[in-house]
C-alpha cells in the first residue's frame, strides 16, 4: 500500500478544508475512542475524561498538530514522526493496537462532519494515510 499522487492530493485538499478545526475533530475522535474502546482509557488515568474535559481538548490539539505535520510530510512520514514514535514506544509505552482505534474514530468523526466529502475514494485515501501514520508511529517499537 503506497500513497499515490491521488491519495496525497485528496488528503491535502481535505486538510486545507478542515483548516483550524483539526483540533476540534481530533478532540472528538479522542472522545469517541474513549467511549467505544474503553481499554484506551487505561493510558489516561491522570486525565479527567468527562465530556468537555479541558485535558482531552488539549490532547486533541496535540494529536491535531501531529497529524498536520504528517500531512505536510507525506513523502517522509517515518522521518517526520520519528520523535513521536520514540515517545510512544519508549516513554508512553502505548500498545500500537490503540493507534488503529483512534484512526478509525478519526474517520468516523470526519464522515460525521463532512459526509459530502467522504465518498469511497476519499475514504480509501484517508484510510491509507492513517495506516501510514500508524506504521510510522510504530516504527520505533521493539
Amino acid at each position: 500500500m503506497v500513497l499515490s499522487a491521488a491519495d496525497r492530493a485528496a488528503v491535502r485538499a481535505l486538510w486545507k478544508k478542515l483548516g483550524s478545526n483539526v483540533g476540534i475533530y481530533a478532540t472528538e475522535a479522542l472522545e469517541r475512542t474513549f467511549a467505544s474502546f474503553p481499554t484506551t482509557k487505561t493510558y489516561f488515568p491522570h486525565f479527567d475524561l468527562s465530556p468537555g474535559s479541558a485535558q482531552v481538548k488539549a490532547h486533541g490539539k496535540k494529536v491535531a498538530d501531529a497529524l498536520t505535520t504528517a500531512v505536510g510530510h507525506l513523502d517522509d512520514l517515518p522521518g517526520a514522526l520519528s520523535a513521536l514514535s520514540d515517545l510512544h514506544a519508549h516513554e508512553l509505552r502505548v500498545d500500537p493496537v490503540n493507534f488503529k482505534f483512534l484512526g478509525h474514530c478519526l474517520l468516523v468523526t470526519l464522515a460525521r462532519h463532512y459526509p459530502g466529502d467522504f465518498g469511497p475514494a476519499m475514504h480509501a485515501s484517508l484510510d491509507k494515510f492513517l495506516s501510514h501514520v500508524i506504521s510510522a508511529l510504530a516504527s520505533s517499537y521493539g
Binding site: 467505544s36 474514530c105 460525521r112 459526509p115 465518498g119 475514494a121 480509501a124 484510510d127
Partner: protein, 147 residues
C-alpha cells in the same frame, strides 16, 4: 456473552429503523471492496470491480450488500443471542466461504463510518459506542464456529 443495556439497545434500534437496508448494504460492501481491495478475493465472479464507481454501481455488489445487511437486522432483533443467531452463518463462512474473520471487523467498521455520514449529529460518541459493541458481538458470533 455480550450484554446490551437498555440504552444501548435503544441507540441501536432507533437508528436501525431509519436505515435503508438495500442502499446501506450496497454502500457498505462497496466501500469494503474499495478501501480494502484485497477483500475482492471473495468476489471473483462479481464482474467489473475495476474502479470505485464500477464497484459501487455493480448490481451483484448491491444485491450481496443487501443480503449481508438484512442479516444484521436479524442480529438487532436478537442482541441477547448473537452466537445462536449466527451459528449456521458462522459454519458457512468457515467451511464453505473460507472468509478470514478479520473481514467481519473491517466490514463492521465500514458500516459504522457509513452510519456516521448518514446520521451526522445523531451519531454521538455514545451511540457509536453501542454500535461498535454490536459490530464486535456480530464479528465474534460469526467467528464462533470456526475450526
Amino acid at each position: 456473552m455480550v450484554h446490551f443495556s437498555p440504552e444501548e439497545k435503544a441507540a441501536i434500534t432507533s437508528l436501525w429503523g431509519k436505515v435503508n437496508v438495500e442502499e446501506a448494504g450496497g454502500e457498505a460492501l462497496g466501500r469494503l471492496l474499495v478501501v480494502y481491495p484485497w477483500t475482492q478475493r471473495f468476489f471473483d465472479n462479481f464482474g467489473n470491480l475495476s474502479s470505485a464507481s464500477a464497484i459501487l454501481g455493480n448490481p451483484k455488489v448491491k444485491a450481496h450488500g443487501k443480503k449481508v445487511l438484512t442479516s444484521f437486522g436479524e442480529a438487532i432483533k436478537n442482541m441477547d443471542n448473537l452466537k445462536g443467531t449466527f451459528a449456521k452463518l458462522s459454519e458457512l463462512h468457515c467451511d464453505k466461504l473460507h472468509v478470514d474473520p478479520e473481514n467481519f471487523r473491517l466490514l463492521g467498521n465500514v458500516l459504522v463510518i457509513i452510519l456516521a455520514s448518514h446520521f451526522g449529529k445523531e451519531f454521538t460518541p455514545s451511540v457509536q459506542a453501542a454500535w461498535q459493541k454490536l459490530m464486535a458481538g456480530v464479528a465474534t458470533a460469526l467467528a464462533h464456529k470456526y475450526h
